[in-house]
Amino acid sequence: MELSRLTIHELQEMIKKGETTSSDIVESVFKRIDAVEDKVRSYITLLRDSALEEAQQADREIKKGNIKTLSGIPIAVKDIMCTRGVRTTCGSRILHNYVPPYDSTVVMKLREAGAIFVGKANMDEFAMGSSTETSYFEITKNPWDLERIPGGSSGGSAAAVAADECIASLGSDTGGSIRQPAALCGVVGLKPTYGRVSRFGLIAFASSLDQIGPFTKDVEDCAILMNLIAGHDPMDSTSVPTSVPDYREYLSRGIAGWTVGIPKEYFIEGIDPEVSGAIEKAIKEIEGLGAKCIEVSLPHTDYCVAAYYIVAPAEASSNLARYDGVRYGLRSESGEGEDLLEMYKRTRSEGFGAEVKRRIMIGTYALSSGYYDAYYKKASQVRTLIKRDFEESFKKCDVILTPTTPTPAFKIGEKTDDPLQMYLSDIFTLSANLAGIPGISVPCGYTKAGLPIGLQLLAGHFEEGKLIQIASAYEKHSKTEKRRPEI
């Protein structure tokens, strides 16, 4: 058994019993990377030397009996989270040479817990995309079918876990960027409640929507990482100072007596029949675990994409104004006699890719004089209604169950020329970000062609425990077969 194929909790056990070492685990992961990375392209930056060195240090500590939660476990981080002294690009040319002078809070927390960092995972530029095709550096391939996209924007983080190029990883989710790639790559991905995990050191896309969360091989690992990254941080004033439960305690509680809401608006025309078939099967299995499934209604579902594609670009256009070629990142070589304004324009036009420019343009337009009320204010009001839909539904049920995505992974290049079609692939995930609620995607089967399908579960604010509870019950007891990609 290759160590790279195992989970955090399996490796923890082996380390505790002295059956393996961190060096062996890290070597196994890099052996796997050497075998498949050329095909999958999960990483922008690999940290082989420092990882092997850290593993030797970890082994010395472990020998002394100093074992922490992630002692010696190789983790990948999306290249949107700042890592002190390690290039952090956000998938963009404009940050191609940026070396942060500080660690993001999540990276610091994992480091303190003993994690070994394998590399910085590929992503859509500034997390704007659903396929990882907008990365300035490379296109990540879906490990289940190398001609298909892994999802996005955290496609590298999802593919790395699916392909055993790390044991677990972190991603970020602004409109589905953890849950959608988790579904398309057949792994577990959780977007926490807005404010549950510190965003300090997370390069900002849309500040009222962004959240960091884990990609893991099973639900237990998800609980382990959530225990480490959740909690208040004085460095992020939007992180919430409420206590964090031990998420592992939810793993074996079962869901007898629960009510699960199925929103009728999520079973629409255009949803792939193999996806809806897998979801219907999952609903039966969840009923078999003692839960009652009822129909609920989220009447404003149809407006989520429209509201999101005002709110997110508006915030992005403001956040990305900082890239001006002065303090860090790319500066265009300016021509003779060129002034500051010309330098700004040239730098930003050369540094940003087409999708980022598109969103900056939408956002700038929506916030510009005369259009603010018609677009931004209107979208923010619709956001209130979307949030209220969930509040009403959660009066009737413990969690809401939906497909994570309307279709399995699509082909590379299939949607790059049609931005609107690409946006519509996030139709089931955007609402959780607008409402600020947590959501998890767990594997729930495969298409005939062998592509993974994801089941999304949503809960009220700060109820990640419930998501872990039902996802764990489903994972343990469902008859869904578990496969591995052949690369």
């Binding site: 002078p101 002065v326 304004l341 209604l385």
Partner: protein, 94 residues
């Protein structure tokens, strides 16, 4: 509808520059997207307060205590161009 001229104006506000060809493409794509977004007008939002953050947050106050921060040298390490202790930029005023 957003016109090609408006796209040019918005690009200037966003400090971006497009070629003629890019400006044509963006005008058509932005119109597709804005036409789709127009469906928000089907929703009656009279009297509905806007949501700017999904979680109700209060201002997070703290004592004004001086803490360790990133030093000047470190802050300048990523600068494309610097001189002495400053970021250097092209000429702003004559």
């Amino acid at each position: 509808m957003i016109t090609k001229e408006e796209v040019g104006h918005v690009a200037h506000l966003a400090r971006l520059h497009f070629s003629e060809e890019e400006q044509d493409k963006f005008t058509s794509q932005l119109n597709d997207i804005l036409t789709y977004i127009d469906k928000l007008n089907q929703v009656d939002t009279a009297g509905i307060p806007p949501t700017t953050h999904a979680i109700s947050l209060n201002n997070a106050f703290r004592e004004d205590v001086v803490k360790e921060s990133i030093g000047r040298d470190l802050a300048l390490t990523n600068a494309p161009d610097e001189k002495g202790s400053c970021f250097r930029v092209p000429k702003v005023i004559e």
